[in-house]
């Protein structure tokens, strides 16, 4: 494998609160090659957003205890002075967010907000920055971009706003784009358009992409690798095929079963994962998933399973034996789909 673009080593992000220590991210490690697309999947509160806000340097050290390493292009971002991190943020790593309705400033014109990003990192005139903003709006497929640039966010539809956010994020040709639930707030038809757009621009700008989502269905077509997170830890990591057709973790099975399928004519109900994600202050001992796991064993309640590779870079954190996993996968999970 080539030199990774981003390598996260044993990252923990703990928030001290009045109720106790919130272990939002509790020791995750992964790496991302240049131009690769990584999907990060998990329920709300699994630590997926927090870990990437930390990569962006948007979680402050006075709010949280951050440990581990975030190595981006050979530099540990966690050790960078704030000023240098600011030069990377928005220029070499950029991020788009879940709700395009509230992520743009309501009082500034869309074009101004994009050219502000350009002018923060490049020494260009207002006019040049504005032209770049219009050009970016054109690239993300906004019709009449020169007129649209002069409009305010409230004059844009949700999908158009997310396109504008993408235009802003890519305006400095970053090496890494982090998309935090980019389609969650959008209509289903618009979701596909936005994901296709991210795919296309990723090729054009030659950027690596991280798509954070709670919906395995969303990342299916668009990701090279997938990391499944639960209660602040990575429970499974693998290529797209490994996760969809050869998953080795009961939590991932649960996620796969709960995807709604249009091609299924049976009147079968969806299979939600029973129970709720644990409180991050009081994570169950052993495997955090054990209270909800249908295959729970005694060892699961006392010992935390390590994220161990089974083959290549497919890894899962589960005490079940590989044989058991293969059997359950074949008989119970795949049989249904």
């Amino acid at each position: 494998m080539a030199e990774p673009l981003l390598e996260v080593k044993d990252l923990t992000v703990h928030f001290p609160t009045e109720d106790g220590l919130v272990k939002a991210v509790d020791g995750i490690s992964f790496s991302l090659a240049p131009g690769e697309t990584l999907g990060v999947v998990g329920e709300s509160g699994s630590g997926k957003s927090v870990s990437f806000l930390t990569v962006m340097g948007l979680i402050h050290s006075d709010q949280a205890v951050i440990e581990g390493e975030v190595i981006f292009q050979g530099q540990d971002l966690l050790k960078l002075p704030a000023e240098e991190m600011r030069n990377i943020r928005g220029a070499r790593i950029s991020m788009i967010f879940q709700d395009p309705m509230t992520s743009l400033h309501p009082y500034y014109k869309v074009g101004t907000q994009i050219s502000e990003a350009v002018r923060t990192h490049q020494k260009v005139s207002k006019k040049e920055a504005h032209d770049q903003a219009v050009e970016m709006l054109r690239k993300v497929g906004i019709p009449r971009p020169d007129e649209r640039a002069k409009q305010y966010p409230h004059e844009f539809s949700g999908g158009m706003r997310q396109r504008a956010m993408i235009a802003m994020a890519l305006s400095l040709n970053p090496d890494l784009l982090i998309a935090d639930e980019p389609t969650t707030a959008l209509d289903v038809t618009v979701q596909a358009q936005i994901l296709d757009l991210i795919d296309r621009l990723k090729q054009e700008f030659n950027a690596a992409v991280v798509i954070i989502t709670h919906d395995l269905g969303v990342v299916a077509e668009h990701c090279d690798a997938i990391q499944v997170m639960y209660a602040g830890k990575a429970v499974e990591f693998g290529g797209r095929r490994d996760i969809y057709y050869g998953s080795h973790h009961p939590y991932t099975w649960g996620l796969l079963r709960s995807i709604a399928r249009l091609d299924e004519d049976s009147k079968e109900r969806l299979h939600p994962i029973k129970g709720l994600p644990p409180s991050l202050i009081n994570v169950p001992p052993g495997c955090a998933f054990n209270p909800r796991c249908p295959y729970v064993m005694d060892i699961c309640r006392t010992e935390t399973p390590a994220l161990l590779p089974s083959d290549g870079h497919h890894a899962s954190a589960c005490h079940l034996s590989l044989a058991d996993k293969e059997r359950i996968l074949k008989e119970e999970v795949m049989a249904r789909s």
Binding site: L58, R86, G90, S103, H105, Y107, M165
Partner: protein
């Protein structure tokens, strides 16, 4: 916008009409007893004298005719507006318009000065408190705000007089002589204590409001976007945060300034400033209805105008607001 302004103006006229009607009823009709008797005061009066008073101010006419006369005097047209035949002081025959015109500069000076003080004090403390949340500076700012909103103006005014005039002798004490040119009074520092006494409560209130607004704004998604762009924290706060946090303050400021222009009764009384507020008090206690009517409608006028100005201003401050 044009149609909107016409509609709002008509509405303003309606509001002022209602205010004047209620003022008339409350003052002329509701108090028990004879208005003429009240006007005569403690002097022993014969029935003939009372009748003469009644006749001289038109109390012997039907109520509607009486109100109509006052209402006509509120029509902003030369010859009608505050005409001296109706709007004169029942106590000393001085026209109400003369009183208002001579007193308004004092009230305007007091209000604008106090407004400048509370903005200059309130906004920066509010911003610093919000940015340095839970720090010592924030706590100190909030203690200041708590004292400010709880301290009554008259108490504060006397406290300040005691220290800065009586004890230290830094500033002149009570009184702005009505004969002295107002610019000279300002230059002599006669307004400094009144400005600060009047501004204190407002400053405290604005500090809290701005702190609250800014803290709320800084947790918005678009602030996270601004940070994600790599903007400096200074720019995030002052360009993106304050832009949204200060917009609602404009509304409050417009209304507060209008309220002050209607007369700061307590401050003007304590510091003996010959302004509208002092006149209001004199008119009420002197049973001088034309005076009461004049200052009440004036105060109401400031409020409705401020409301309109603020609403129109909003269309320029917030691109989402449009008037049709």
């Amino acid at each position: 916008m044009g149609r909107y302004l016409i509609r709002r103006t008509l509405f303003m006229v309606l509001v002022l009409f209602i205010v004047s009607l209620f003022t008339f009823i409350i003052f002329m009709k509701l108090p028990a007893g004879d208005p003429a008797r009240r006007l005569a005061g403690s002097r022993a009066t014969t029935p003939q004298e009372l009748q003469a008073i009644r006749h001289s101010i038109g109390l012997d006419e039907p109520l509607l005719v009486q109100y109509g006369r006052f209402a006509k005097g509120l029509i902003p047209w030369p010859g009608f507006f505050l005409n001296k035949q109706v709007y004169f002081s029942w106590a000393n025959n001085v026209p109400v318009s003369e009183e208002i015109y001579s007193r308004l500069p004092y009230t305007i000076t007091l209000s604008l000065g106090a407004a400048a003080v509370f903005l200059v004090v309130g906004i920066p403390i509010g911003i610093i408190s919000a940015i340095k949340r839970r720090s010592f500076v924030d706590r100190a700012g909030m203690v200041f705000a708590l004292i400010g909103v709880s301290a009554p103006v008259f108490w504060l005014a006397y406290l300040m007089l005691y220290f800065f005039w009586f004890k230290l002798g830094w500033l002149p004490g009570i009184g702005v002589p009505a004969g002295e040119p107002i610019l000279k009074s300002i230059a002599l520092g006669r307004f400094i204590l009144p400005w600060f006494a009047l501004a204190f409560t407002f400053a405290a209130f604005y500090t809290r409001m701005i702190r609250g607004n800014l803290i709320e704004t800084m947790s918005e998604d678009y602030i996270r976007t601004a940070r994600a762009k790599g903007l400096s924290e200074r720019r995030v706060i002052f360009k993106h945060g304050l832009r949204a946090a200060l917009t609602p303050v404009v509304t409050m400021f417009g209304l507060d300034l209008a309220t002050l222009l209607g007369g700061a009764v307590i401050t003007e009384t304590v510091f003996n400033i010959p302004g509208i507020g002092q006149y209001t008090l004199q008119a009420i206690f002197g049973g001088n209805f034309p005076g009461v009517m004049g200052v009440t409608v004036l105060a109401a006028f400031f409020i409705v105008i401020a409301n309109l100005v603020v609403d129109v201003l909003y269309a320029f401050l917030d691109p989402r607001v449009r008037y049709t």
